[in-house]
Symmetry: C2
Amino acid sequence: MLNAANMCEATGFRRQRPLVLEVRDELERMILDGEVPAGARLNEPSLAAQMGVSRAPVREAARSLERDGLVTTVTNQGVFVRKPSVEQTLELYELRAMIAGLLCGRVAQTSDDETRTTLRARVTQMADAIEAGDQEDYAAQNTAFHDQIAQAAGTHRATELYVALGKEVRLLRLRSPDGVAAMRASNAEHDRIVAAIEIGDAETARLEGSQHHLNGKARLLELLDRTDTTQT
Amino acid sequence: MLNAANMCEATGFRRQRPLVLEVRDELERMILDGEVPAGARLNEPSLAAQMGVSRAPVREAARSLERDGLVTTVTNQGVFVRKPSVEQTLELYELRAMIAGLLCGRVAQTSDDETRTTLRARVTQMADAIEAGDQEDYAAQNTAFHDQIAQAAGTHRATELYVALGKEVRLLRLRSPDGVAAMRASNAEHDRIVAAIEIGDAETARLEGSQHHLNGKARLLELLDRTDTTQT
DNA sequence: CAACGGAATATTGTTGACAATCGACAATCA
DNA sequence: TGATTGTCGATTGTCAACAATATTCCGTTG
């Protein structure tokens, strides 16, 4: 199947991608980057003017973001950037942990050598990034690692949900410690996940993949406790 | 003060509910009831004319259905009723099983006496429906039972996902055996779930809630195997 | 001075029309 | 005959305008 998007990518000709997609990406970026704070309302007229398009694409893009759980729509009041509570975010961690377990188990069962080699390479690269003290690079590699597992699982809905929940979590805008120790611990978990995948141990891969995210939840909880006691 | 709202209220001409919600419900009904077959395209102009509204509400309703995984949108080609493969449907069962486990565990931990009493009553009612041979009533009670657990869990996203995945599963349009034996077995599982909830045993509730759906997956697989061998 | 009511304003909901694009069919040519 | 291309109808994408609704602000009133 060839659609306009494929055509323009294949030919290099900048055929105009549907505006709604451009607007959607831009809105998503604005939200995830915090340019639009959580709880804020997306003003259709101003956004439309700002992007030089009509309100229709903006409206559709907003509805599209609703699918990823980034915004909620209130009738006659507009769409608002979601402002998940701490409890809701912890719930997201649990959901993501379960789905990650499912994904890792699948990868252990079905992945080919190339995928396993790539995953292993990513863990090594992350270790290098840690030693180099490059937190930004580590974060990027980390995201790529998880996305690749999600893709390699060969699932549809589970993969979709995993990445969508990943975006949703970012709405809380709480940066995890990111210390060298935390990164080392996290990457050790990555290592165990990939090790289980390499030997095709689906059950261990599931447990490790799930636990990796539950540990992230624990780290978040600890961070919140510390913040509370500090501020109170 | 004379405005449309007052006029409508005075004349009994109620139209405060946005059209998009009406259209959404109608579309969802049409899809879940099979009036629009899986894989079919939703024709915006004809649907709009059929419901006596403009295309915009139809478009928005379609985007809204995308969130529940009932349709997919292809650029410049339209929105299509999703046609999940057997593998994808099995994946949905696994996702739903995990989420159900999470929900049941929560209910065991947090529910009050009233909720537990109601859940127990539903199991009893389902048992009555089975003995009375009323499969339709049983199915309705069954849906209500699961929905109530999802609500009682007090979770946000997990609850949403659970009901959405429930709708999505129906797209395959494969009716499970529904024999008296199957219903008895299923309700026995309900009983074990509620029993765990009643004594506040979260871990058992989680396991039973998850297993209940995995059993459903197994029943679906068995049904498919039988259909295959029969048709081949 | 605070609480209430009501107009003025801003924003969303809905509509119909126009432009861009796709799928199908027919006309053309090797 | 078979493949290619041009054209046409149908459908989606986008727009600007109108209607309905929510929000804000200010004057009134107790």
